[in-house]
Amino acid sequence: VKQAAWHLHAARVMLIVEAAARPRRSRGEDLNMTALTTSGQSGPSASRTGARVEDIVALPAFGELVRGRRVLRLTVTAIFVVWAGSFVLVTAFAPEVTRTTLGSISIAYLWGLSQIVLVWALTWFYLRHSDRVLAPLAALVLTEARFQATSRHQG
């Protein structure tokens, strides 16, 4: 059991080191994930690592991954709702405010352009955070799931 725990720890360290070593260009992460899923035997559940769904849900790393994703999604949604929502509501209910022009360019148009910038920025932020933080975490969940399944098979 001690040795197994050490393996798990080593796998965690490897992944973290790997993620730190190539923060930007990490083409392989999700591909590795797919490779992992094929390597195990099909267990009682549909997942192909042989890991059981309830075991994965109980993994601390899974909890961390799910929380991380939730925070990211809620952050993006909140910024989006505030900036795009205020634009739409003001345009709908107080159009005269946005009709003001600055040298023939209306506030409405400038505020509209800022929506494009907003979508660019949110997407960029989402992709960067997913690549740097969440993808390594997802890979870790899969490593732990596979480890758990193997140790369960060995009794």
Binding site: L31, T34, V76, T77, P95, T101, A108, Y109, Q115, Y126
Partner: protein
């Protein structure tokens, strides 16, 4: 400004014929590589992130965004730009479901529901949602095709719509998703190039000074500065909010866009493809704002007749003018290129729609509902091809009945409303709400489709006839009523039922969040000729 001068036709026709020839070449290449069901509906899941980003851009920049939004900007100024902005804002909800869609899906949206629910009713409901959206969207695109081809060649609207339906069918039946994707990539690149050229030519008229452009657009509009602000198209706030809601939530429920995420190898490529699409579509809409406002400044109010019903022909008319006017060589060439690009745009988008409906009919309804999972893969693909043919025929007939009088963007917004009311609530709740049940999903989709379709039929544009008085519902877009109705039905249906024993949220949850058990990319199949076997 006239668009039917006899000397245009040869040139414009040959440009379009060239585009069709290239796309048919792609189809022939793809047909050799399309053998399994995964090839047919998901291009073997070997499309890369950037490639898929271009293809999504192609799906976004349909005739609605290219011709329709520019037409609305020409006619109504800022409100037209607002419609384009709504279309861009949809990327945020889409970004939030893309990876989970990739991890949990196989060929269709219904696959995601089926992971955690009773597959038969859930798939039947999702197929209903897909078919309803695709029917309206296909009509919109075929009407656009009819209008553009009519202008291009002088042949009748009916014949033009039928010819488009036939061409898209060839792509889909023979080339499957691989052909559809590459046609989409080629078309997106052409469209972006045309956008750059037109924007540069327009800006050149005003010494590359946007302030002068907007100034002259406002003067030419007759409405002055009101043209540069909101309120000319949307008379009441509620109409604008309803359309905005349809667009922003609708895309994440559009079957042909969701299906795109199943063509890439993994979740990373799925989110990456959104990054590419957001960059490209956002840039295009900035250019489009110069083109749309510039059209008013360049063409003036006297062109309102020439741009046709709904302003759909604004871009062709503008292109001809920028190239040097009717009869000039430059004008003819630019008009021919723009019409050819518009035609390619429509072909590519309708092909994507047809393939998503064929997935719903063959994979969901036939294999999993009628045959209860017993159909072989070969049978599924055959049924898929038959379904594609039937859907195309049906859409062509509906188009001919509806006729050319609708603004394309308006019709597309209705398709978005159905998608936002029927598909989006079910998909979002399936991914996020543990207590969601099969009954909830089925009632949500049924209520979403029913509410949105009934409200559309009773709306001013359809009842009792286009643009006539006396319709029972004043909302031009039903989303503000039908989206809450869809969510409410999902919620009520779930509360009034119990999850079946086999229903497992955790299974979908783990799969969607980690990619564990997700469908994998296939090794490239060798071209059929070398292997010497038919459909595997």
């Amino acid at each position: 400004v006239t668009l039917l001068a006899a000397d245009i036709n040869t040139l414009a026709l040959s440009v379009s014929a060239g585009i069709v020839a290239v796309t048919l070449g792609i189809t022939a290449w793809a047909a050799k590589r399309t053998r399994t069901a995964t090839d047919f509906w998901a291009a073997g899941r070997r499309i890369s992130g950037p490639q898929n980003g271009f293809a999504i851009t192609g799906d976004y920049l349909s005739a609605s965004a290219f011709l329709g939004a520019a037409g609305l900007m020409f006619l109504f100024g800022f409100d037209g730009f607002l419609v384009a902005l709504f279309a861009l804002l949809t990327f945020v909800p889409l970004l939030l479901v893309a990876e989970r869609m990739r991890n949990a899906g196989k060929f269709t949206m219904a696959d995601v529901l089926a992971v955690r629910m009773d597959g038969v009713p859930a798939r039947a409901a999702a197929a209903l949602g897909t078919l309803a959206v695709a029917a309206v969207y296909l009509m919109a695109q075929l009407i656009a095709a009819g209008v553009v081809v009519q202008v291009l060649t002088g042949i009748s609207f009916t014949l033009a719509a039928l010819a488009t339906a036939a061409t898209m069918l060839v792509y889909v039946i023979f080339g499957g998703m691989l052909a559809t994707t590459w046609v989409q990539i080629v078309k997106a690149s052409m469209l972006l190039a045309v956008g750059v050229v037109l924007a540069v030519l327009v800006l050149d008229r005003f010494g590359f000074d946007p302030i002068r452009l907007f100034d002259e657009a406002a003067q030419a509009s007759g409405s002055g500065e009101r043209f540069l602000g909101p309120g000319l198209y949307f008379a009441e706030p509620i109409q604008m909010l309803s359309l905005g809601l349809a667009f922003v939530l609708g895309t994440a429920g559009l079957p042909h866009v969701l299906m795109r995420f199943l063509t890439v190898p993994d979740a990373r490529a799925a989110r990456q493809s959104i990054g590419w699409a957001v960059a490209l579509v956002g840039g295009f809409f900035v250019l489009l704002s110069f083109i749309g406002f510039g059209a008013r400044a360049v063409l003036g109010s006297e062109a309102i007749e020439a741009v046709g019903g709904g302003g759909n022909l604004t871009i062709p008319v503008l292109a001809q003018e920028l190239g040097g006017g009717a009869g000039s060589v430059g004008g003819d060439i630019l008009l021919a290129v723009v019409c050819g690009t518009a035609f390619a745009t429509i072909l590519a988008v309708v092909a994507g729609l047809v393939i998503s409906t064929s997935g719903a009919v063959a994979h969901d309804l036939w294999t999993n509902v009628v045959r209860r999972g017993q159909a072989s893969e070969g049978e599924e693909v055959v049924v898929g091809r038959i379904a594609a043919a039937s859907v195309s025929l049906l859409a062509a007939i509906l188009t001919v009945v509806a006729g050319p009088g609708f603004n394309i963007t308006f019709l597309v917004s209705l398709a978005f409303a159905v998608a936002a009311s029927a598909n989006f609530p079910a998909l979002l709740l399936a991914l996020t709400w543990r207590r969601f049940t099969t009954v909830g999903a089925v009632s949500g989709v049924v209520v979403g489709v029913a509410t949105s379709v009934v409200l559309i039929v009773l709306s001013p544009a359809v009842w009792p006839g286009p643009d006539s008085e006396g319709s029972p519902v004043s909302l031009t877009n039903p989303a503000i009523v039908s989206v809450p109705a869809g969510f409410l039905a999902c919620w009520l249906g779930s509360l009034l039922s119990r999850p079946a024993a086999a229903e497992s949220y955790d299974e979908l949850w783990v799969r969607a969040e980690t990619g564990l058990g997700a469908e994998e990319a296939m090794a490239p199949s060798a071209p059929r000729a070398e292997v010497g076997s038919g459909v595997a």
